[in-house]
């Protein structure tokens, strides 16, 4: 069974929140991956929904391109919406 494909597991901790990556596991197919994920990652009441995705189906950015891809926004704090005065009476923006 060690040659079973690798799956990435995503758990939604509560309704309204997004699924979040929590780890990975091996399973023969999607059905078994969901069962295994339930047992490996929700046994401490972590979630209300599970997604599993074949690790091979995830396309990742190239870590060698980190500078090229991610250096530019550093130092450009003006892109954050933190320079606007909050109108009185507005609790959250």
């Amino acid at each position: 069974m060690n040659d079973a494909p690798l799956w990435e597991v995503f758990i939604r901790s509560q309704h309204g929140l997004a699924h979040k990556h929590v780890g990975s596991l091996h399973a023969a197919d999607a059905k078994l991956a969901l069962l295994n994920a339930r047992d490996a990652y929700t046994r401490r009441n972590e979630g209300v929904s599970i997604w599993v995705v074949r690790a091979a189906d995830i396309h990742a950015s190239d870590p060698r391109e980190e500078d090229t891809l991610f250096e530019s926004p550093k130092g450009k704090e003006f892109r954050h919406a933190t320079f606007f005065p909050t109108p009185e009476g507005v609790k959250n923006l």
Binding site: M1, L25, H26, A27, A28, L35, N36, A40, R43
Partner: protein, 256 residues
């Protein structure tokens, strides 16, 4: 609700049969911890064991609440010898290979769901309450064991042969699940718990469907090798208890 002494005994014997079966099966499953074919399965089986252990504790507490002379859950679990256990013999048969453990689990899970589903409607509020929570866990156990049994039964020739061998080995012990014992008719009449024999048809249909999917052949209805409720056991139980109770026997009253 005031119960007759006859009903108290019947209720206790029935609850101990269920609790003891759960606890013995939990102990069997935990023996796979660190040894299952893959780590995901290892963890899953330990989870099932913990569910069964937790349910056994609830049933023991219910017994002790109405009959304080039984002490507490720890005493029931750790200080009774072979001749005081009421568990189904199916649960005490040695694990064997992974196929035998799995086949036993699938047979028990189907039974457990059918029984707990009936107990949810018990006229005894304490029983109904525990059953309502337990049945959800049991449905998950069944989902997992049935899925795996279909995969392995209808898998390679090796996995199929192992599953069929396990089924043949365990089949003589399934008849005991549906044997009506003294007091069961009274409990059924009071709406406390269903007659064991009344569960057989539903179970038989579910197991028949599962076996077909798993390409396994069920045995003929064998003569019932019963005995759990009469506290007569196979040679397996003594070894299991020796291991399970070692700590409490060697260091009486030890606590965490």
């Amino acid at each position: 609700m005031a119960m007759s002494s006859e009903a108290v005994v019947a209720r206790r014997e029935r609850l101990l049969q269920l609790a003891d079966s759960n606890l013995i099966l939990a102990q069997q499953l935990t023996a796979w911890c660190g040894h299952a074919p893959m780590i995901e399965e290892d963890l899953a089986q330990a989870n099932v064991a913990l569910d069964l252990l937790g349910q056994a504790r609830q049933w023991y507490r219910l017994v002790c609440a109405s009959e304080p002379e039984f002490g507490d859950e720890d005493r029931l679990a750790m200080l009774r010898d072979v001749a005081q256990w009421r568990n189904l013999l199916l649960c005490e048969i040695a694990n064997g290979d992974f196929a035998q453990t799995l086949v036993r689990q699938a047979l028990y899970d189907e039974f457990h769901v059918v029984l707990l589903t009936a107990l949810v409607a018990s006229s005894d509020a304490g029983i109904a309450e525990i059953a309502a929570k337990a049945v959800k866990e049991a449905r998950y156990h069944r989902l997992r064991s049935a899925d795996l049994l279909v995969r392995l039964g209808d898998g390679t020739s090796e996995s199929h042969a192992r599953c069929q061998r396990a089924l043949d080995r365990l089949w003589p012990h399934v008849a005991e699940l549906f044997v009506d014992h003294e007091g069961d008719a009274l409990l059924a009449a009071m709406g406390v718990a269903p007659l064991p024999s009344s569960l057989e048809e539903t179970w038989g249909q579910a197991v028949g469907t599962l076996a077909r999917k798993a390409t396994l052949t069920l045995g003929a209805v064998a003569s019932a090798r019963a005995g759990g409720r009469q506290k007569r056991h196979t040679e397996h139980l003594g070894f299991l208890l020796a291991e399970m109770q070692f700590m409490q026997r060697s260091y009486p009253e030890a606590t965490w």
